[in-house]
Each structure stands twice: as C-alpha cells, then as structure tokens.
Amino acid sequence: MAEMSFRGALRLTLQEELQADENVILMGEDIGAYGGSYSVTKGLFDEFGPERVMDTPISESVVVGAGIGAAMGGLRPIVELMTINFSLLALDQIVNNAAKLSYMSAGQIHVPMVIRMASGAGSQLSSQHSQSLEGWYAHIPGIKVVVPYTPRDARGLLKTAFNEQNPVIFIEHTALYARKGEVPDEDYAIPFGQAEVMREGADVTLIGYSGSVYQTLGAADILEEAGREADVINLRTLRPLDVDTIVASVRKTHRAVVIEDDWKFGGFAGEIAAIIMEEAFDDLDGPVARVCGADVPMPYAKALEQSALPNPQQIADAALALF
C-alpha cells in the first residue's frame, strides 16, 4: 500500500493508460502546457506530447463532441471539462449524442469515452463556479456516473472507466484533490455499482458520495459521542446505484439520512430516499432524512457559503431526530 493523494491517484492511472495504449488521448482546456487547472494532468504533456495530451480551445461543446466522435472512430478519449459548471455548455452533446448513440443506432455505435470534471463548492468561488450537478448526469440513461471519495476509489474506478464500452462521467470533488489515502500497490479495479461501507454501525444509515462522505464521517463521530452507531455508505457510483448495499443497511438500522452537496429540491438525494421507501418501507422507523445544500445560488462570502453546505453537526442532528 502506498499513500497517495486523490490527485496523484488519478494522475498515475491516466499515465499508465497513456503508456499502455497509444489510442488513449486526453483532451481539454489547459490540461497540457498549463498542467490542468487542478494539476491532475501535470507532467503528462511533457511525457506524452501535444498529440496525446491535447490542449483545446475554450469550446466545451466541440471538445466533448469531438471526444464522442473520436471514440466512435476507434480512439479512447478522456475529456477533461475543467469543472461541472462548464459542462452545461456541452450537455447537449452528452445527453443527445453520447448517451443515445448506442440506442438510436440499435447498437451499431458505441462511445467508450470518459468525461472528467471537477465539482463541488467550499472555496468561495461564488455561484457560477460552485455547482454539484452530478445528480443530473445520474438521470440520463446511456451514461454511467462515477463519484469517487478516496484515492483508492479514484484509481480503482478510473481503471474501470477505461474498460467501459459506454460513456462515463467521472466526477472529482475539488475538496478531495489534496487528500491522501492508502492505495493498493497491485493492479486493481473497482467495479461500478459497488458502494463501500466506510464504517459500520447498527443504529442509523448515513449515505453520502464524493466530497460529502467527509462530512458524513464527521457526523458519525458526533453520533458516536451521542451513543449512536452509524453505517456510513460511500456510494462510489450513482449510475449504476448499489441499491442492495443501501437497502441491506437500512434493513439493519431502520433509519437513514442521505447527504448531498447539491440543492435539495429535485436533487438526487430524493431518488435515494424514494428508493429506500420503495424497497424497505416496512423496515423504516421514520422518514428517510435528507441533508443537502441550501436552495440558493452559492454565495461568495465565507460564512454564507459554509452555511449553505451540509456540515457534520447538521447531519448528526438529522440522524438523531430519527430516534
């Protein structure tokens, strides 16, 4: 086991895949000479050159569309969209082409590509740069949505993404990049659709993904002090969603809280809550609670921003209210 940052785990995996297959190309704004706006691709431009690590114009739509076309044509493109905020400009390509080509061509075409993007708030970037829209991507049939939390997740899930025959949206919470963790030395991959139980407890199920797992683990600590033991589930992928792990936990604990940075109203947390209700209604001692981002465009001022994001105390309170 080596200790590695989340960023480092991603970089190492990209590097290996670039080495292993010359049809792998990276495309994106400032991923080359600049080194990537979150430094994930740093050094890769020097190692592989501008033909493999391609700096693009600021043209999100054609960058994603060209990635799709390149995948149709036999390459293995990894497109970096810098942040999920800018992905809105490429959403038509993702929704109407990447996700649908297999179906509308009756399986003649496939789009084996990965679209990476940073997501999340917390560093005072204000409303146009602080969104967490992974739930939107999870809504689209035809794509898969990956939301790693640990460096181990990052590497293992990216490996799987490289072996996928379908388009993968790979979400990287900016608060995680510098965080470190153990990563196996040997080759490994984490299959999509397998959540990780990060911590076990019999009293309540806390379900988070991506950056929010951090606050969720913090909540579990608070709960422990309050004499309650929590199962903490790190979903790892939103589509496919590991319903079995969620439901098994709820059957044990009878209580659940779903945590998400994104706006609550109409967000993905509602889907998880609805599924739990559908699958485990009789096991529930009370309604599934949701702790999500406040329903506001993200403010710049630090205290306002912090108050708009889920925090451990809020999560713990929501859990305790179920007893």
Binding site: P57, P77, S102, M104, A106, Q108
Partner: protein, 332 residues
Amino acid sequence: MTQLIDKPPAKELPNEQLIELLRKMMLIRRFETKAAEMYAKQKIAGFLHLYNGEEAVAVGAISALNDDDQLLTHYRDHGHALARGVEPGRIMAELFGKETGVSGGRGGSMHLFDTEKSFMGGYAIVCGHLPLACGLALANQRLKNGRIVICFFGDGAVNEGEFHESLNLAAVWKLPVIFMCENNFYGMGTDIRRVSAVIEIYKRAAAYAMPSKQVDGMNVLEMYGETLKAAERVRAGEGPSFLEAICFRYRGHSMADPEAYRDRGQTERWRELDPIITFRKTLTEDGVIDEGAFQTLEAEVEDIVNEAVRFAEESPVPQLEELYTHVYKEDS
C-alpha cells in the same frame, strides 16, 4: 484495410458512372415521393423531411468519396443514405419503425445509421453532429487509415455556436473533414436573409482560414468535381475544406409544413433547374443515354422502391421485450 479507388475527375467519368449518378438521383426522388405517400397513409410517423430537389448534392458529393470515408448528416438524411448505397428496403423499414430497419426501428427517419457503409448517422439536433465529424476525423488522422469525413448540414445550422467551434477546431488541428453546407435558403420557414449576417456562407470559412467554395448544388457533375478536389486536399493532410452547395428543397421543411412563408413561384423557378432533368438532358445530348435507357432506369428505381415498401411492410416490428436492449453495450 483502406480501399483507395482512384476517382476520375468529372470530365473523365466513364459512361456507366455517369449513368449511375443519374440513377441514384432518380432513386432518391422516387424513394422520397413514395415516402411521402406512405406518410399520408400513416405507415410512417414522426417527422419526415424530404430531399426532393437536392439530390445532386448528396449524389455528386458522396460519389466523389471512397466507400469507407465516413459520412454524417442531419435529419434530412434519406438522400445521403441512398447515395452511399445503404439498402433502400432497410431505410424504408426504418421509416416504418420495423426491426429490419437500418436502426432497428429505434431511430426512425431522422436517425438512419449503417456503420458497415461508414454511414455514421443522421442527427436531429441542428448542428449537433459537426463536433462528432471533427472527432471521427481526429481518429482517422491518428490511426493514419487514409479515411476522411464528410459532414452535411443546412444553412440554418451555420448560426449555431457549434458550427463556429467545430470549424475552428478542425482548422487548428488540421482535421481531415469536408464541411458540406446545403444552402437551400431556408431553415424551416425562415429565409436566410433574415437571420444570417453574411448569406454567402462559404465566406464564413475565412474566419478559420479554411479553403472554401460555393458550388452549384443543382449540378451533379459540379458537385462531384468540387468534392473530389476538396477530398484530395483533405486526404493529403492539408486540413479541412468547406463547400457551400446552392440548392433548393421543393417540399416543405417536413410533412407538417404548409409553406405559408414562401410563394409557389419560387419553387417553380427552381424546378426549372431540376438536377435530374438537366442532367438527363446533358447525358442525352452527349449521347450517353437515350429515351429507352432512361425508361429502363425509371422502371428499375420504381421496382427498387416498390420492393423497399414491400420489405418494410412485411417486416416485423421490434419486440417489446427489447425495450431496454442497446441502452448500454454490455461488457464483452
């Protein structure tokens, strides 16, 4: 491997190839007219956009390319598919929503796909396929397989942001792609003069330092010849090329369009330039065909189209159990 048949210049086309150009245009015309009938009979549903009047564009351009050069187009795609040699029966079956359709009945008229023919699809989001054309061209460039890409779109698509992004990217990366704009002067009911700052569309390519030219889209030989020249440059690695084919659609935008926005007279004037009539005349004058040969061609395309309808009629609809098939490709 790549098949790189040498295409002769327009002036040197042998007679059988000239006749083939005529035959393909006639096939498209007959097919489209039959499709309209079938729509009226409610055998076909959804949106149906016909290619009548524009046959020379697809036939001329596509005949100038190799069979494995990839082709993408918009929703008005039957003509391009037929010009590429996609089976008429399987196209008609697609319009009928049958399992035997080129897209298994999933795509319908706007989404024909036949990857074996390097026909990479019809797309219904205006301009949404230009980025894909760039990507396919990038793949060809990297794989050094000698294939180029041709991408058809309308005058209306030119005002979308993706037009700009795609042309710039193709130019910067010197991608092997031909952008073929079918300028029929209307995007749905909107006259190009009301929405485009520069209506000579080929001039817009200058913003990307891309070679471009206006071509007579009613003249199949000119389409063939200019596409061939563009293809040579593109295949030689000189980067993308742009062609603006001046043409006209005889029918409404789709079957739902009563054409209240333009007068019949305009269409009548264009019909005088009809690509099939004028090319038939040329071939007759040059002694390539006579009345008998033309009648034979007519009978031939009539048969093909009738057979296509029969095939479509008799084919099975998709099974309901297959609703979820193809959402994802299962791991192999």
